[in-house]
């Protein structure tokens, strides 16, 4: 396994220049926390007509968690909450190695497929997704990866 498979250029780019970094004013917000490494990510969303109209994130984390959060905010915009729920599961299955990477299903998120070779990094890739799900569900509480 080459580290370039894990840290693909796209990931390094999102790590350096995260997209949608910030807070959706008046949006529903939820935070994710990984107690193992101290990483925190907060995701806020605005829903309109049952779809994600806007999603943004803040926080600090490793390259994997930051890139995953950044790309997530891009791909979920415009999707229905049911679509997001399905994508969550598909993405989780990919990074945990339960199913093969399929770019038709996950789109550009396929660059994170390398995570499945590094079990200790799965939580990094999933952190923002858990926070997003909680934000959409309106839970508004801190979720942890534990």
């Amino acid at each position: 396994m080459d580290l370039r498979d894990l840290y693909q250029e796209v990931i390094l780019d999102h790590n350096k220049r995260p997209r949608n970094f910030g807070v959706v004013e008046g949006g529903s917000q939820a935070a994710g926390h990984n107690p193992m490494c101290g990483d925190r990510v907060s995701v806020s969303v605005r829903m309109a007509d049952g779809r994600v109209a806007e999603a943004r994130f803040t926080g600090s984390g490793c390259a994997i968690s930051k890139a995953s959060a950044s790309m997530m905010t891009e791909v979920v915009t415009g999707r229905t909450s049911e679509d997001v729920r399905i994508l969550f599961t598909t993405f989780q299955d990919m990074v945990t190695g339960k199913s093969e990477a399929d770019d038709e299903k996950v789109g550009k998120l396929v660059v994170l497929a390398g995570v499945s070779e590094y079990p200790s990094r799965v939580k990094c890739a999933m952190l923002a997704w858990h926070a997003l799900q909680a934000a959409i569900d309106g839970a508004g509480t801190t979720v942890t990866t534990e």
Partner: protein, 415 residues
């Protein structure tokens, strides 16, 4: 291979010591393993593995309970280990060594059995900013139950405790001082002798959390004059799940049992129970006998190698690592106390420690990344985590070179 002599002129051969640890002779991700996660847990020498294996093959039986030969042998192995551990820490007698599941349980035993019955609302427990969570949370639990208050000695940017504040905070309401002997996050060796002198003058007992000190330097509880000393076998080349609390006999005798069960009693009826003598009244139930046997073998191993020799060797490795990492532009050392042991904590520019850890692992270099169960230390520096390389007696200068080379590659990769 390099050999090093300490001040007494003893020679220490790390390469020879290394051969006693079969696990080190392997490749990870196609690279030779460079194990620098010793503050997390150390590897186990053949002497420990074989002692535990022999115990299960030949001697296994329950202790203190049966009249048959195996039980006698098991009891002898268990109590013999206690005697050797008592000698290792220079306790006055083996009854002052209580076996626990580890350092955490040892601290909890003092918190619940010594402190809780004595604490009144407004009483104080004195800790420091650099405590491991295991020396914070037990005190919070008893403080919640009793209305006692935690006082925290501050530290400076180098990770050195403010001793003037220590003296000031040590007041009439202080019931106990509990201090980490060597910081697991920063490597700081705390001035425990100075603290002991101040605490003794104030008549306040002291617990030292020795998890990170006992593997790295000679520890003599009588010379230190501490009242309690807690340690974990698995950080001392022994097995996991076993540790010890040293306690002065008078204090142990004054403490009620913490857990009830078999072996901790002298007589039981439904109306009244007489407790067993120390240390047995704190060891309810069938203990981790094989673990104790392994722990005994581990302190024998450490004594054979020599704690002075280990301290000198690891000190040289730490100097080497501190100097080489400190010389790289963009590396920030976290914790620069003049007196340190075993640990170098650092940050590689803006690269997150978790990414650094994954990268080093691919080069065969095992380190810990994260907050090291010391979140207040991370908060103090305004960071979430560090990369921590920690040394053991089998590490060599080539291991330090491998770490430094890999860190340089991390910088290039994430440039």
């Amino acid at each position: 291979m390099r050999t090093l002599g300490d001040a007494q002129g003893h020679m220490f051969d790390a390469a020879a010591a290394r051969r006693e640890f079969p696990i080190l002779d392997q490749q990870v991700h196609g690279k030779p393993l460079v194990y620098l996660d010793n503050a997390n847990t150390t590897q186990k020498p053949l002497a420990v593995i074989e002692a535990m294996d022999r115990y299960y093959r030949l001697d296994n039986a329950n202790i203190h309970r049966a009249t048959h030969l195996l039980s006698e042998r098991a009891t002898k192995a268990y109590e013999g280990a206690r005697e050797r551990i008592a000698r290792f820490f220079n306790a006055r007698e083996s009854a002052e060594i209580v076996f626990t599941r580890g350092c955490t349980e040892a601290i909890n035993l003092v918190a619940h059995s010594y402190a809780r019955p004595r604490l009144r609302a407004g009483d104080e427990i004195l800790l420091t900013r650099m405590e491991h969570h295991s020396n914070i949370v037990p005190w919070q639990l008893v403080a919640e139950q009793t209305g006692a208050v935690l006082r925290v000695v501050p530290m400076d940017q180098d990770g050195v405790l403010d001793m003037a504040e220590f003296a000031r905070l040590l007041g009439p309401r202080t019931v106990l001082v509990s201090v980490i002997h060597v910081s697991n996050a920063l490597g700081t060796v705390n001035p425990v002798r100075e603290m002991m002198a101040l605490a003794r003058a104030a008549g306040v007992p002291v617990l030292l959390d020795g998890a990170q000190a006992a593997p790295h330097m000679p520890v003599d509880v009588q010379e230190l004059g501490c009242d309690f000393y807690a340690c974990s076998a698995h950080k001392m080349y022994g097995p996991t799940g076993i540790g010890a609390l040293y306690g002065r006999r008078e204090l142990l005798e004054s403490m009620p049992p913490w857990m009830g069960g078999g072996d901790m009693i002298a007589s039981v009826s439904f109306e009244h129970t007489e407790y067993n003598a120390v240390p047995y009244k704190f060891e309810a139930g069938t203990p981790n006998i094989a673990g104790v046997v392994g722990f005994g073998a581990a302190v024998d191993f450490l004594s054979r190698v020599g704690m002075q020799e280990i301290a000198a060797h690891e000190g040289a490795l730490l100097d080497h690592a501190t100097e080489a990492l400190g010389a790289i532009e963009g590396i920030r050392l976290v914790g620069r106390a003049p007196e340190r042991a075993g640990v170098v904590s650092f940050l590689v520019g803006e690269v997150h420690p978790h990414d650094v850890g994954t990268f080093l692992d691919q080069d065969g270099v095992a380190v810990r990344t994260g907050q090291h169960c010391a979140q207040p230390v991370m908060d103090f520096y305004g960071i979430t985590s560090t990369v921590r390389a920690s040394f053991g007696l089998y590490n060599t200068h080539a291991d330090v070179d491998a770490l430094v080379a890999s860190v340089k590659r991390v910088q290039q990769f994430f440039a």
